[in-house]
Structure formats: structure tokens, C-alpha cells
């Protein structure tokens, strides 16, 4: 399914400054992987060393955080809009 992925400002350095890109996938995990394959430099910021999506990267389908849907296995329809939304986290010590 062709879908649109909206890119946060901080990651547009990896998408030729584009604020949205097209990707394909039957489920959200596939669309994000397809997107990452098209812009390989973005991979290390989306996925950890083990290939798991980083905890601070949230994905919204329309207005809904996919945590409240079926997560990365949520099926996609033609024309769906995904948004990558970071959480900002940090602290002072381990």
C-alpha cells in the first residue's frame, strides 16, 4: 500500500529536506522499513543496534499513536498518513 510518512524537522537532513515521503507496506513495520531503505542514513536514528525501533520514536496513524492501535503490525490502507513523532528524553546520570 502506498502511504505518506511525515518527517519531523530534525530528521529532514536525511530526506533531502522533504517534510513528507512516500513508502510502501501492508503493515506499519513494512512501511517504516521501506522508508528507511530509501534513506539509509536515517536508519541509525530510527532503529537501535538490535534492529528494534528506538523507544523515543513514536508513530502516529492519522491522529492516533499506534500504541493505541495494533502497534507496528497495524495494517495500512492506500493513502494512509503516518507521522514520526519523537519523544525527547534525557537526564543527568545512569
Amino acid at each position: 500500500m502506498p502511504v505518506t510518512i511525515q518527517i519531523p524537522t530534525a530528521l529532514r537532513v536525511f530526506t533531502d529536506r522533504k517534510s513528507e515521503v512516500q513508502a510502501k507496506g501492508a503493515i506499519i513495520a513494512e512501511a517504516i522499513a521501506d522508508f528507511a531503505a530509501s534513506y539509509p542514513d536515517i536508519k541509525q536514528h530510527l532503529y537501535d543496534e538490535g534492529g528494534t525501533l528506538r523507544s523515543f520514536i513514536n508513530i502516529y496513524l492519522g491522529d492516533t499513536n499506534i500504541k493505541n492501535l495494533g502497534g507496528l503490525d497495524t495494517p495500512l490502507k492506500d493513502g494512509d498518513i503516518l507521522m514520526l513523532v519523537p519523544a525527547i528524553a534525557g537526564g543527568s546520570n545512569p
Partner: protein, 137 residues
């Protein structure tokens, strides 16, 4: 490169003291200059989304608060160009936890708050390979 006016750094220092012994956090709103440098216009304090008992060494700006900060910035004709947080009784140097959770491009301002009084204030940008922070201020 970041330009942080005295008014903005004073506001961050005061937020750090207000939140002590917990961490404060918020967004840096501003714009890009012609050479790609970031100029901060104002700060936007955001509530620390971590559990109260973790806030002495952790902060989080959740995705809904992140989206709200972008919306506020746009409404003021600005962009979110970075974030700030405080290090209560720790130096103004990013922790490994900071680095593991950082995004490229943004400026990360840290203020050290010692015994309730703000001191050193620094700013950092994540290196492209995520291996370290580069000090910009």
C-alpha cells in the same frame, strides 16, 4: 551553531531552580539564520512527563507534548530548534542516557543546578554517528 540570548539563558536558569531538586525541561523556539545557525527567540517550558520519583535524574517530553510544542512554535512564526533540561547537582555535561535518547540536528541545552542555584549552562549537538555530543556553547 546556536545563538542563545541572555534573556533565554536566564529563563532556563530560573526554570532549573524552580524545578530543583527535580529536572526541568522545555523547547527552544527560534529560527535559522542564513548560514544555517540557530537563533533562539524564546523558551517554552514543558512539564516533565516522568514519574515524580524519577524526575530527580530524568525527564521526558512525550509525543503529544512534542507535537504541541511544534504547534506553538508555528503559531509564533518560529521553529522548535532544540530542547533544554537541568542537571540537579550534576555538571552541565550530557550523560550517556542523554546521548542514547538524542536526535540529530537539535541543540540540547543543559543547565547545572547545584544546591538549588543554577550555574554552568552549556549547549550540545549530537554527532552524526551518534557516538558523542559536540559542544556548541
Amino acid at each position: 551553531m546556536i545563538v542563545l540570548p541572555d534573556s533565554a539563558s536566564a529563563a532556563i536558569m530560573s526554570e532549573g531552580e524552580r524545578a530543583y531538586p527535580n529536572e526541568c525541561c522545555g523547547a527552544l523556539l527560534g529560527s535559522m539564520d542564513d548560514s544555517g545557525g540557530r537563533v533562539v527567540s524564546e523558551i517554552l517550558p514543558i512539564h516533565n512527563g516522568r514519574e515524580t520519583e524519577e524526575q530527580y535524574h530524568r525527564f521526558v517530553i512525550g509525543p503529544d507534548d512534542f507535537m504541541a510544542s511544534e504547534k506553538t512554535a508555528r503559531a509564533r512564526g518560529l521553529d522548535v530548534i532544540g530542547f533544554y533540561h537541568s542537571h540537579p547537582d550534576h555538571p552541565a555535561v550530557p550523560s550517556d542516557y542523554d546521548r542514547e535518547h538524542a536526535l540529530p540536528w537539535y541543540s540540547y541545552v543543559i543547565v547545572a543546578v547545584k544546591s538549588g542555584v543554577s550555574g554552568d549552562l552549556t549547549s550540545w549537538e549530537l554527532d552524526g554517528d551518534r557516538s558523542r555530543f559536540i559542544k556548541e556553547l
